[in-house]
């Protein structure tokens, strides 16, 4: 397994948001975590990106124990995050945002090549590369956020609610891009509240509710579960 979490506990302050979660992602796989809002999806992914400390359990990446690794060393291991709400550096240009993705020496050596790849995926960004990231539309900002992650030449990309706040047609594009990311060789861990889209693109999926994994399996199997209907609609 590339990414492996065993009995993970994560929380903010005195509130534990993730209880006893075990989850894994293999190389080249797309794994989705679905769940209603407030289930702890963002907490889970922030812990995997090193932004939150794990309170208990194990987290390993490619065999290395990640629980003692400092936040700014996660990227060097090959983990890149596309955060919820994009969190671009809005006062910096599009290209500078992308360059921050290849801040570490190993990725920096491939700067030009990576830039070409990102501009190939999102041609509009090439035209806007000198504009401030904060001035772009929501969809374009999401492109920058994904591009920034790809610049790090990651082995896994963590997507946190990539469809949030985007128009439906752009949401479709985003999921095409996620499939492309996998074709280029990186694994994907995706958390989403858009259940159908998330299951459609995934190889495997987990259902997270109130901080616990309540179900896991192939997307087609999960879709049949009445439980999912209940979790989302209460009926």
């Amino acid at each position: 397994m590339l990414l492996e979490a065993r009995n993970l506990h994560v929380g903010y302050g005195d509130a534990t948001a993730i209880w006893d979660v075990s989850l894994d992602v293999d190389a080249g796989e797309i794994v989705s975590v679905i769940g209603p809002n407030g289930a702890g999806k963002t907490t889970l992914i922030n812990a995997m990106a090193g932004l939150l400390r794990c309170r208990g359990g194990e987290l390993s990446f490619d065999g290395a124990d990640m629980t003692r690794v400092r936040a700014h060393d996660y990227c060097g291991h090959g983990i890149a995050l596309v955060p919820e709400g994009r969190r671009l550096f809005v006062k910096m240009s599009v290209e500078e945002n992308l360059e921050l993705g290849c801040y570490l020496a190993a990725a920096r050596a491939h700067r030009q090549e990576s830039l070409e790849r990102v501009y190939g995926l999102f041609p509009i960004l090439r035209d806007k590369r000198r504009q401030l990231a904060g001035e772009l539309s929501g969809g374009q900002q999401q492109m920058v956020a994904i591009g920034r992650a790809l610049m790090a030449r990651p082995r896994i990309v963590l997507f946190d609610e990539p469809s949030l706040g985007l128009a439906p047609t752009i949401v479709d594009d985003m999921f095409d891009i996620i499939a492309r990311v996998r074709q280029d060789g990186a694994a994907v861990l995706l958390v989403e509240q858009n259940v159908l889209k998330a299951l459609d693109v995934a190889d495997r999926a987990y259902v997270l509710e109130q901080g616990r994994i309540v179900s896991t399996g192939l997307p087609t199997d999960l879709l049949q579960q009445p439980h999912i209907r209940e979790a989302y609609l209460g009926v």
Partner: protein, 283 residues
């Protein structure tokens, strides 16, 4: 109304004097804008450097530039030490202001104990040199100061824009968590920046030693004006700091020529108040 020549001379000396504003504002602007630390002891550090330059020059006959070469690295280390304190106690913006104020008082006392409260003047033959340009006189030292301030401001600006370290600092100032997720070790860079800020104070100090008469209480004279310059030039923007410094220097100088000299402070602070009321996000 004063003559055109007088106004022209006022404008020139104002812009040149603004170089000192800009130079002092530079380090302050960096640490405030990019680290959210307000360093009131910046001025005290500059005066410490000035006194050290004076001491090296008068007692040991060290040329000012050699003195600067010795003093500036010392200032860098002091900057690192100060930052260690901020880092260790996770000091916020307001607490940093109060702590550095106390620190400035302590430095002032230290200076007064060693060099006494008497006025000190570092006499060099540079201070009398000036270039005649048409009807105007341009003091050489002020000109050099402006050039140095310009080179430092432009250099720092380029450094922040063009290098990875500079971009990482700007990114971390916006969102330290996400910058860390891409490998930026913000803590380490913050030390570097704090050291640089203190080193800039050291460079300013060298010029203060050459241009001005030194007294411990002078530490506080610059505070108000430079703060206005830092904010008008926008926090964390080295070019802004320099330009705002020259703008304020020139307008004060013109105000002195047209009105009473004592009206000068109203100019910078009225501009400051107007800007802050017009756009509170300016800060």
């Amino acid at each position: 109304m004063p003559s055109a020549t007088l106004l022209g001379q006022a404008l020139i000396s104002g812009v040149l004097a603004g170089g000192m504003y800009g130079l002092l504002a530079l380090g302050l602007s960096l640490s405030w804008g990019l680290l959210r630390l307000v360093n009131l002891s910046h001025f005290a550090l500059a005066f410490l450097a000035a006194y050290l330059t004076y001491e090296l020059g008068t007692t040991y006959h060290v040329a000012p530039w050699w003195a600067a070469a010795m003093v500036v690295p010392v200032m860098f280390v002091i900057g690192l030490a100060q930052h260690w304190l901020f880092d260790r106690f996770k000091v916020n913006e307001l607490a940093s202001l109060l702590i550095t104020f106390s620190f400035a008082v302590i430095l002032e006392v230290a200076i007064q104990l060693y060099w006494t409260a008497d006025y000190r003047r570092f006499e060099t033959h540079y201070s009398t040199l000036s270039i005649k340009w048409g009807a105007f006189y341009i003091p050489v030292l002020d000109l050099v100061l402006c050039l140095v301030a310009g080179v430092l401001a432009v250099g720092t600006w380029l450094w922040l824009r063009k290098t990875y370290v500079g971009k990482a600092l700007r990114a971390a100032a916006e969102d330290a968590d996400i910058a860390a997720a891409y490998g930026v070790d913000h803590k380490k860079l913050a030390y570097l920046l704090s050291g640089m800020g203190a080193a800039y104070a050291g460079i300013a100090g060298t010029f203060i030693a050459l241009i001005q008469t030194l007294a411990p209480a002078q530490i506080w004279v610059w505070l108000g004006g430079v703060f206005a310059v830092v904010i008008i030039g926008r926090l964390g923007n080295p070019l802004g700091a320099l330009l705002a410094g020259m703008l304020i220097g020139a307008s004060e100088s013109i105000a002195m020529a047209v009105l009473e000299p004592a009206w000068a402070p109203v100019v910078s602070f009225s501009v400051l108040i107007a800007i802050l009321l017009w756009d509170p996000e300016w800060l």
